[in-house]
Amino acid sequence: MLYQQIQSNKRRTVVLLLIFFVLVALVGAAVGYLLLGSLETGVIAAIVIGAIYTLIMVSNSTNVVMAMNNGHEIKNAEQAPELWHTVEDMAMVARVPMPRVFIINDDSPNAFATGNNPEHAAVAATTGLLKIMNRSELEGVIGHEMSHVRNYDIRISTIALALSAAITLLTNIGGNWWFWGSGDRRRDDDRNGGGGLQVLLLVFSILMMVLAPLAAAAIQMAISRNREYLADAGSAELTRNPQGLISALRKLGSAQPMKDVDPSSAALYISNPLKNKEHLFDTHPPLEERIARLEKM
């Protein structure tokens, strides 16, 4: 079960990267053809830029994700003994190296894990989590995060996050261009009527409309709800105490939303930090269902 999950995560990561590069190449082809008159130059330039971006993102993902979520790294046990020691325990029993530990100043209890692989992983917890959870509840939450680390869930969700951020950036640029461009076009229309630029803007606007939902779909694909159940089961396996996680999930369920959370990182957290009630793009299975499954163990 665990082995299949790791394999499927690695496969999905490759598929995700392929889709991203196809999209990047398409954008490059359109831009290259319209601006430079050469399809090949555009494709090559776009793929090179995309590859460099991906490399930088992946090699530096932990710092980027933690900066996006205002996480402060703690370097030794004195700064937060309970959290540090719990992470140590769970890493030992999951047989992964000790990850980096971060704290987010927020009264709403929550936690997430990120990183590239179990050797380069990080775990973050909010100050609210440390305040309201007792030891066994904290162990349940950290055990859940450590299962994500061990299952390579962190790699795929971090890459999905990086790529969707890139696509959002790209479509935003396209959108702005279209917006400002349409002003130009009206002026242009009076004189000689647009031409190549107009076609380019049209292509961008179409790409924007197509890409945005695709980016959302990519995240949905990467962050299947099933893995949350699997990480809950993994946590119970590590702590041998499903009650701890059950009572932690109950506390998470009745908590306030987080003040200052990056929406594209929302899917990383153990419980939805935005607490929104739209179910169409849910990244998290309902807490009641997760508790029910844990109670059956």
């Binding site: 309970e82 140590e88 030992m92």
Partner: protein, 182 residues
Amino acid sequence: MVLLIVIAVIIVIVIAWVSIYNSLVKTRMQTKESWSQIDVQLKRRNDLIPNLVETVKGYAKHESGTLEEVTKLRQDVAQAATPADKMVASNQLTGALSGFFARAEAYPDLKANANFVKLQEELTNTENKIAYSRQLFNSTTALYNTKLQQFPSNIVAGIHHFEPSEFLQVPEVEKEAPTVKF
């Protein structure tokens, strides 16, 4: 042709033999490593206990009996000869310590002492690490013992005299909440 087939079969058997042997050595090493993890934590706890006794002395006059018991059990853990004896003594010490921390709730001055708070977290951490490293030891032992019994690794294990590793029993008392007596 027949010769070639025979040579190929021999090569395959040798490669399989070497890789099975190596994986047996690796898993046996893992069980030893996880035992030494437990041992490290037991030593750590033994190092912490004298500090605890020193800190508590001045505050909790009525607990001198408990402290003597803790000190005696600490000796037992340090002097135990076999892993099994060590774990029996360690389990008793765990029980005595958790009983003591439950009673410490009755001494507000002690609970306000920064040194005591720190020691309590350290000892809780060590107790948790003992429990988790024991769990790790049992899971690596299960993995290793399964290999000893499975075909074809049982043949390699039998010829090279790999001995099975013993499981550590999880004490039943540990799962219950400590009873508080005054």
